[in-house]
Symmetry: C2
Subunit: 398 residues, 2 copies
């Protein structure tokens, strides 16, 4: 215990078969919280490495989602590869994977086998539709799960086709759920001594985000129309044109409305029956939005943001990804860091949205290259000889 680092997951060893976004995001947060995450890839690398520059194995998403991990290669289709996994599983705390349902079982390295070897191992599976049920084997991507789970149907303008959320919201929602399920099982193990299989389906992780629309459907029996940036039952909630872009405003209580009127210099309409109650503003939606936009159009978005901050109005500028990546606030908080990756140069990476006050901060080690830690892990941790390592390489086991 004496050598334990002052980080929440210090001492936890994770065998990470995560690929693309969902799995790697879950294990990024584990690594940043102090776990020893060993990223295990097939000898040709996980899919996200495919677009790396010639002779290199790093892409921007690899660098963004794999800091603080070690990387090894392993061919799970070879018998000797499986034996290596069994030896690692015996020493690990967590195995996490987001393969299609049944892949690990078919390879002979599923939960049941590993649980025999190490009953303390927590086994975490992330899939599109889950490990059971009639839709289990449907192929899943962020976009298709956005479709099937209803997210696309509620995004967009009423008189135009439905739209996806631009960001990969389902991949990341399910990735953080997978983290949550895994750590919950680690907590439970601290009480029971036994690890469990845990699973997260992307479809189920997405469902609760529709709470407002499900409510509207339940109330009326009608599928609510898309509303663009507006709300069907509250005004003003919208995105407004500014002099140089857009601002988003979401007034929740009457005090916010009064603060806005003061900011706009329009306290003259405070008692106007077309504006003075929430219901009146819904009934006069176009007039209210037009009145606001007549003001926002005259000012740059950051100036409006500053006024809103001072006046206590829930408003923010619509920022592009460049502005977000350079955000002074997130850099000052240490959430965003500018680092140099020796394969792809200077990049901005996130640390972790999970913040543990009083914990030591794990210094960011850039994402590993494919197989970078084969020797360190297989020889240093697992106890293989250098001769064995060379042989494994020659036989394409690693």
């Amino acid at each position: 215990m004496s050598a334990r680092a002052n980080m929440p997951l210090a001492g936890v060893v994770v065998l990470d078969f995560g690929q693309v976004y969902q799995g790697p995001y879950a294990t990024l947060l584990m690594a940043t919280a102090g776990a020893d995450v060993i990223k295990i890839e097939p000898p040709n690398g996980e899919p996200l490495r495919r677009r790396a520059p010639r002779g290199k194995s790093t892409t921007f998403p690899i660098a963004m989602l794999n800091s603080n991990k070690r990387a090894i290669t392993l061919n799970l289709k070879a018998e000797r590869g499986k034996q290596l996994l069994f030896r690692m599983a015996a020493k690990a705390d967590v195995l996490l994977e987001n393969f299609a349902p049944g892949v690990m079982d078919r390879l002979g390295v599923g939960f049941d086998v590993l649980h025999e070897i190490n009953p303390r191992l927590v086994y975490a599976s992330g899939t599109g539709y889950g490990l059971s049920g009639p839709d289990r084997d449907n192929l899943a991507m962020d976009l298709t799960i956005q479709a099937v789970s209803g997210l696309i149907s509620v995004t967009g303008e009423a008189d135009r086709p439905p739209l996806k959320s631009g960001p990969a919201v389902v991949d990341f929602l399910s990735g953080i759920h997978l983290y949550a399920a895994t750590v919950t099982a680690l907590y439970e193990r601290s009480v029971t001594g036994v690890g469990r299989k845990v699973e997260v389906a992307m479809q189920e992780a997405a469902y609760p985000t529709l709470t407002s629309q499900l409510e509207a459907y339940w109330r009326s029996g009608q599928v609510p129309p898309r509303t663009g940036n507006a709300s069907h039952n509250r005004v003003p909630i919208n995105v407004y044109v500014a002099k140089d872009g857009y601002v988003a405003m979401n007034l929740a209580v009457e005090e916010h409305w009064h603060n806005l009127l003061a900011a706009m210099g329009r306290e003259d309409i405070r008692d106007d029956p077309r504006f003075c109650t929430p219901d009146a503003r819904v009934a006069n939606r176009a007039l209210v939005d037009g009145t606001i936009e007549a003001w926002t159009r005259t000012l740059p978005k950051l100036e409006i943001f500053a006024i809103a901050k001072q006046r206590r109005i829930p408003l923010a500028p619509v920022r592009d990804v460049g502005e977000v990546m350079r955000d002074a606030h997130m850099h000052e908080r240490g959430f965003l860091e500018d680092i140099v990756h020796d394969e792809i140069g200077q990049i901005t990476v996130p640390t972790s949205a999970l913040r543990f006050h009083g914990s030591d901060r794990r210094p960011t080690t850039p994402s590993p290259k494919l197989g970078q830690h084969n020797e360190e892990v297989y020889c240093g941790w697992l106890g293989l000889s250098t001769a064995e390592l060379i042989e494994l390489k020659k036989e394409s086991i690693i």
Copy 2:
């Protein structure tokens, strides 16, 4: 130990000051995993109760996000209310809140005070911008954080204004991050014996979802244009018109493309130079999408879904919220349940997207009414007398 339920968070007591979506979602998952969640509200209820039918305290979102909790009332602004909280904090494992930064400190019931009383207590704070940094005190809602964190800028069509994601993706992303941070600290406490303050900022929880767009920006130095439902560098990825709605398709590898050609009966174009490589399809985007839509337009979306399933094509129907709520697969898996709430009648509620194999399933108890468990918690758990309870009620402390 003998009486411990076979559920991961059995025995964990949570003081839940969560409100609206973010906090209550985090504690819903704790409750479903076996924790004893005590929802603590001001005597007039949390904001989500405001639109309840006259004389009742339940709304659809309250019912959807508060199953398996107990509910009590507490006026934290009264000195006696604070004393009650101190007594509860001494016996609890977790306190979770999503008030604005500094609210609990100003009331004199912040982490530092509670940590003195109970060093094992994990204190979890969810906010829009975090507990530090220049933007800390900005007012935050799901919509404004979607704006400031870049999500709105990348959603929508290239030649039209930016659009929000229809679902409350940021509230729920940050809610599950808050769950994750809390349980991580519980795990750590099993090693160290000490609880921490943990925090999650909505803005930071949203950032990683932009990985693809951040990559495009980093590669080119240009803010990538919005792409509607398409991808800027892969074809076919899009939403297509079906006979009775839409389907979303995301072909990741050449095998998927060949499967699609077979399904469409268009293997005649497999070797056509305009179609036969990923780059060729990007160069002939309109032709490719038009060829696909000529097929999808002739069939109902569920028929296309069935074909895609059989042919191994990553595709799904764009479903509306009614279809999603009645989804046979999620009902069969036990993720969705039809229950009767005695205040608002029959509703469909989610259980938990965190699934623990081998754990007992917590039977769903419908969401509590405002203050429903005041006597049970204050007298039964905390040890107050009935006379004290009556007095507290009379003095509007509870």
